[in-house]
């Protein structure tokens, strides 16, 4: 069921207006096209439900692909192209959020959590070994010594 509404929304967008009207687009030479494809998969089709412009057939996605290819041909770097698109569409267009202060928690969370887990486990381990020592002290130790002497 969980997927149903997702599929439903996807379908609404996927088929609104242009139903897979996949007209062969003017592609670049293979190296530049590979670079373009990589960029496509990082850019959101802004009207779609969580689809990159690489996968989408919406008109907006097509336009965006054309823009990206133009920029590549014009010799822009990936960073410049991303900036160009962010200026026009906002950060919403980046499927991979930038690494900055406002996204710090997002990017840092995995590392922070691993470190936190490490600290917790280390502390638990120390506590544990203290327990072991405590268990062997006192009455029991005497008993052990007595048994060993025998």
């Amino acid at each position: 069921m969980a997927r149903l509404c997702f599929i439903w929304v996807l379908v609404l967008f996927l088929f609104s207006g242009s139903v897979l009207s996949a007209v062969a687009e003017q592609t670049l030479d293979s190296a530049a096209e590979d670079r373009a494809k990589l960029l496509f998969s990082e850019l959101r089709c802004v009207v779609c439900q969580n689809q990159s412009i690489r996968d989408s057939d919406a008109d907006v996605a097509k336009d965006l692909r054309i823009i990206v290819r133009e920029q590549i041909t014009a010799g822009k770097t990936d960073r410049e192209i991303r900036k160009f698109l962010v200026d026009r569409y906002g950060e919403f267009i980046l499927l991979k959020p930038v690494f900055a202060w406002h996204t710090f928690i997002l990017w840092a969370a995995p590392f922070l959590l691993i470190i936190l887990a490490g600290v917790l486990i280390f502390r638990a381990g120390r506590k544990q070994s203290q327990v072991v020592e405590a268990k062997l002290s006192g009455e029991e130790e005497k008993e052990v010594a007595r048994l060993l002497e025998r």
């Binding site: 069921m1 439903w8 929304v9 139903v19 009207s21 990159s52 959020p97 928690i105 959590l113």
Partner: protein, 660 residues
């Protein structure tokens, strides 16, 4: 009439669950076996009445009774009978009913199969489950009544075309059994916290239940992934969409739970953590089912039309999750820890597994919720999409799969890492061979792909190291070796197969991600296109009208080396009732790979636009899941799971401490 009876049954079930929410738990407090015993009967009665209600709704769907609003909105008299039936849960109200139906099944199952539980524990568990039942029945009755009537309509508005598929009959029920199955571990945890007592016997009861839930969740997710793959018509199989993440989250923490419960069962350790994981897993299941539905996660949403529902759902979530965590914070310290172990040990490996799985679950959760929270705080929109998840989740998975073969080989309490490494040398060797072969034979693609293939091979081969070790193969000779293999405990086989399954899935992902090709072809009749050595000829198309849709059907012949190997008929359907088109791709399996052809459009000049993908080794992704599901089932048939919880002798007072 039957519909009214269904509504009635729902109300009766609700009253009974209110009763069961209070009486048995009161009995557990006052040690009254009479009050506690009521839960056995009421849980069965609740199941009976919810079954009636569910059956009534299904009947309304089967007979296309368009005087029921829900049926009118989501069904069509011309639909195939199977889709009429599965349409019962292809909408909000019906799916909620399915949800509580499964919840009632599990609750009754505890009553029936839990006879060997200590009575107070059983009463508390059934009580907690009744809380859940009460809440969700209340939610249904108040905001999502599936039985509402209207003036009879002549024809229904049809089921969403994309749902008119065998997938709808299988995927949601499976996923729900998975989600709801974890309610049992949740109820057990709350009961343990209430009683302030927990031991390895508790884990022995909880583990099979979590396993059942996990099996269905695994199968449900895999099935859903394949469904989206063939139905959506653009060949994607996982999108890191909030809704998918919502089903993946309980899977991740549920997997962690299975492993930590293992430590608890065998070594009486990690108790508090296991209880917390059980609570978290079900909380994530709730999140999966409901938060998505409330319209908080995605701004564009089918069910967001009713804000009251959304608020209700948030209230339920915060009450159960918040309440459980609150209880945990207060009572967890009462649960005694036991079982010491060195860092390098089976326990240590399982702790590492838990750290990585929980961190990846947290990462996916944060990534899923981040845009919502960010927008709420700053008002600006931001996206967190597939590239983010692939990077972070992938980075967390690599250490996990690298250490996975070590885990089962390490001894409990204290393991010998050097001896274990020696036993895994052959897996390392296999990995290196695979990497060399991949670099040698696969020309195109990213440099990292062969490396990842090597890691998959390491995982697949390494998974069977324990089997080899225990059988003494190849040293003892084939005959003795195989005899020993056959005699091994099924849980050992299960571990090996499940771990290998992860490797198989990973191999499929690596292959298809790195080496898939995609092309667009515009063909006139008789023209050909090529993809991965296959030649696709367009023979012509026809337009036809079928039941509740019309379609354009394209005939293709697929040739390899001039010989016809397949005939493909991709089509585009149009459903007039909903004014919606769908695309039916032609998917041709060759070995483990697939040639995926979707029809774009038929142009006025009778030429067609085809999108053609070559998806190398893609079926491994789902075959790996099949292995995992099979392994889960196998471990359930293990002697330990069957007779794991000791039966108490008759005529004994069952109120005392559980047997450990």
């Amino acid at each position: 009439m039957i519909v009214e009876l269904g509504h009635m049954a729902l109300l009766i079930a609700f009253s009974l669950s209110v009763f069961q929410s209070i009486v048995p738990m009161w009995g557990a407090r006052t040690n009254s076996s009479k009050l506690m015993a009521t839960a056995d009967i009421s849980s069965l009665a609740i199941l009976g009445f919810i079954t009636l209600a569910f059956g009534a709704l299904m009947w309304a769907y089967a007979t296309s009774d368009f005087s029921v609003v829900n049926v009118w909105q989501n069904s069509h008299s011309q639909m195939p009978f199977l889709y009429k039936l599965s349409g019962t849960w292809g909408n909000h109200e019906g799916s909620m009913l399915l949800w509580v139906f499964i919840l009632a099944v599990f609750a009754a199952a505890v009553g029936v199969f839990g006879k060997n539980l200590p009575t107070t524990m059983r009463a508390n568990v059934l009580g907690v489950q009744a809380w859940l039942l009460t809440t969700f029945l209340f939610f249904i009755v108040l905001t999502s009544n599936p039985f509402a009537r209207q003036a009879p309509a002549l024809e229904g508005k049809d089921l969403n075309p994309i749902l008119q598929d065998i997938g709808l009959a299988i995927h949601p029920p499976m996923l729900y059994v998975g989600y709801v199955g974890f309610s049992i571990t949740f109820a057990f945890s709350i009961a343990a916290l209430i009683e302030g007592r927990i031991d390895s016997a508790w884990a022995r009861w909880v583990r099979p239940w979590s396993m059942v839930a996990w099996i269905f969740l695994t199968a449900g997710i895999a099935m859903g992934s394949y469904w989206a793959y063939y139905e959506l018509g653009w060949g994607g199989w996982w999108f890191w969409d909030p809704v998918e993440n919502a089903s993946f989250l309980p899977w991740l923490s549920g997997t962690a739970l299975l492993h930590s419960a293992l430590v608890m069962e065998k070594r009486d350790s990690l108790k508090i953590w296991t209880v917390l994981l059980a609570i978290i897993t079900f909380s994530l299941s709730l999140l999966g089912t409901f938060l998505v539905r409330s319209g908080v996660l995605t701004s564009v949403h089918t069910f967001a039309s009713d804000p009251a529902r959304g608020l209700f759902i948030l209230a339920i979530l915060s009450a159960f999750v918040g309440g459980a965590l609150f209880l945990f914070a207060f009572r967890a310290s009462r649960l005694e820890q036991g079982g010491l172990f060195a860092p390098i040990s089976r326990e240590g490996a399982l702790v590492l597994n838990n750290v990585l799985l929980s961190t990846s679950a947290a990462t996916v959760l944060i990534g899923t919720l981040f845009p919502v929270v960010y927008e709420a705080i700053t008002g600006a929109k931001i996206s967190v999409g597939a590239p983010f998840f692939n990077l972070t989740f992938g980075a967390l998975m690599i250490p996990l799969v690298l250490v996975m073969p070590f885990g089962p080989l390490l001894g409990w309490k204290r393991g010998d890492i050097i001896a274990v490494s020696q036993r895994l040398l052959f897996a390392l060797f296999a990995a290196i061979v695979v990497i060399i072969l991949a670099y040698g034979f696969l020309e195109r693609g990213p440099w990292i792909a062969p490396l990842m293939m090597g890691i998959s091979a390491w995982l697949i081969v390494g998974a069977f190291a324990e089997l080899l070790q225990r059988s003494g193969l190849p040293k003892v000779g084939l005959k003795t070796g195989f005899a020993r293999l056959a005699g091994l405990k099924r849980s050992i086989w299960a571990t090996a197969i499940a771990h290998a399954g992860v490797g198989v899935t990973m191999l499929g992902i690596v292959f298809v991600t790195a080496y898939e090709t995609e092309s667009v072809a515009i063909l006139k009749q008789g023209e050909k296109a090529n993809s991965a050595g296959y030649e696709i000829t367009f023979n012509g198309y026809q337009t036809r009208s079928v039941a509740n849709y019309s379609e354009e059907l394209v005939q293709l012949t697929i040739r390899k080396n001039g010989k016809i190997v397949r005939v493909g008929t991709p089509s585009k359907r149009f459903y007039p009732a909903r004014q919606m088109p769908t695309s039916e791709a032609s998917i041709n399996t060759f070995g483990f790979s697939q040639l995926y052809i979707a029809l774009g459009e038929v142009k006025p000049d009778n030429s067609v636009v085809l999108r053609i993908w070559w998806k190398p080794m893609i079926t491994l992704i789902w075959l790996g899941s099949v292995l995992m599901v099979f392994a889960g089932g196998l471990s359930l048939t293990d002697r330990r799971a069957r007779i794991g919880s000791p039966k108490l002798a008759k005529n004994r007072n069952l109120g005392a401490a559980p047997i450990g």
